[in-house]
């Protein structure tokens, strides 16, 4: 269930919190995305888009922590924590 794809916010449009949109780039594709559920999204942020709606602004710091935890897992006998 629930295919959601991360994309980069290129620009924002509109004032009404329910109909505000962003132009979001997914690889070479730019698609208009509703921001009602990600009101905090800013230009340059990465948002997770499902069924035409941004449902999260991705957290770059936590993403880096997750990748660091993964690297640590890969090293023999090193305990590791997830990015949370």
């Amino acid at each position: 269930m629930c295919l959601a794809v991360p994309g980069k916010v290129l620009s924002l449009a509109g004032d009404d919190p329910l109909t505000r949109t962003a132009r979001v780039a997914f690889a070479g594709v730019v698609k208009e995305t509703n921001l009602a559920f990600a009101p905090e999204a800013k230009t340059g942020d990465y948002v997770l888009v499902h069924a035409g709606f941004a449902i999260a602004v991705l957290d770059e710091i936590r993403a880096e922590q997750t990748l660091a935890a993964l690297r640590a897992i890969g090293q023999v006998d090193t305990p590791s924590e997830p990015g949370a």
Binding site: C2, L3, A25, G28, V30, E32
Partner: protein
């Protein structure tokens, strides 16, 4: 020939739905019977092959190679019913010429003469018809073929979809070795002539009005020039197959089944343009199954790989050619792909077309 439509109603990765139910259970024809997947295959195997049984048809290649008074001619036909008729990078006119030119080239033949049958719907704008015809003229010119005979029919409003085109073509076979699935051998290398999925994504984005701000253009192009250069160079080529409906995966599965061998490809080596990839991620599509109209795979023995790549890369239509896999002996024929993380998956014919997923 058995390939009933090059760019069908349902551009391979189209939104137009396809039913997975099999022929035997269906009293009427479904869209999927023309979709190039398992149902098309069943139609061919259960109805067409038994009805018209002959060695040429049994080859199951893109066209028939005929020996006529000492001359070896390739003969093929294809019908075009793409919707919309105009899409980024091409239209039904250029598609109808390029598709048939490519089918001839895949037989190792230089395309020479084409016929065109136009089925027009009453009310189709004359201006659009002019655009289509002009586009056919240009494509024929670029491919070096002459359109030597034709036919026009008009059907009642509502009985067609604007314009349908059938083209048939004749070409002169070059080289003396047979090119086709039966010539594929273990250890052959699999070369793909460019990045995948542009046509399917281009057509679909227009048809469904997907809000894309940078259109992805169809890859429709005539491939005769690079293919002839390859054949004329004397480089040994075992099989050529253009990738249309059903994409790379479907073409490979068909060749694997026809040759009785196993094909292994490395997904990380398969070129996909970033826009196509983005669309596939958004819609939940697999680019290996998305339609192309200007790409082919070549099966060549290991020693021929480098010269083959060198020749193809010197032509703009096939500039991005690369080796993506190998053929091997196996008890059971089929196609497997090594995934980007080093796992393995089986590639199969689709039971119907890919549909956009949200789940």
């Amino acid at each position: 020939m058995h390939r009933t439509a090059g760019a069908s109603v349902t551009g391979p990765s189209g939104f137009t739905p396809q039913c997975p139910a099999p022929l035997a259970d269906h009293p009427s024809v479904l869209l999927a019977h023309g979709g190039g997947g398992t149902l098309t295959r069943q139609l061919i195997e259960r109805m067409f092959l038994p009805s018209f049984d002959n060695p040429f048809l049994a080859e199951r290649h893109d066209g028939a190679v005929l020996q006529i008074d000492g001359a070896r001619l390739a003969f093929t036909t294809d019908s075009y019913v793409v919707r919309p008729a105009f899409f980024p990078g091409g239209d039904i006119g250029s598609l109808a010429v390029n598709g048939t030119v490519n089918d001839l080239a895949m037989c190792g033949a230089r395309p020479l003469y084409l016929s065109a049958g136009l089925i027009l719907e009453e009310g189709f704008p004359m201006r659009d018809l002019e655009r289509v015809v002009d586009s056919m003229r240009l494509a024929a010119e670029q491919a070096g073929v002459s359109l030597v005979t034709g036919d026009t029919k008009v059907v009642d409003r509502g009985s067609g979809d604007g314009v349908f085109i059938n083209t048939s073509g004749i070409g002169a076979v070059r080289g003396d070795r047979p090119v086709g699935p039966a010539s594929v051998r273990a250890e052959d290398r699999v070369v793909v002539s460019g990045d995948l999925g542009r046509h399917g994504i281009a057509v679909m984005s227009i048809r469904e009005g997907l809000a894309l701000e940078e259109p992805i253009e169809s890859d429709t192009v005539a491939l005769a020039e690079p293919v002839m250069a390859l054949i004329d160079s004397g480089v040994q080529v075992h099989c050529l197959r253009d990738l249309t409906r059903g994409g790379l995966a479907t073409a490979l599965v068909e060749i694997a089944l026809a040759s009785g061998l196993e094909i292994n490809i490395d997904e990380a080596r398969v070129p996909v343009a970033s826009g196509v990839r983005g669309m596939c991620e958004i819609l939940g599509f697999d680019p290996l199954y998305v339609a192309n109209e200007g790409r082919f795979v070549a099966f060549v023995p290991p020693a021929a790989l480098e010269p083959c790549l060198e020749i193809l890369r010197s032509h703009p239509q096939t500039r991005l050619s690369r080796c993506i896999g190998t053929v091997r002996e196996a008890e059971r024929s089929g196609v497997t792909a090594r995934t980007v993380i080093g796992g393995e998956r089986v590639l199969d014919l689709l039971s119907g077309e890919q549909l956009p997923r949200i789940c």
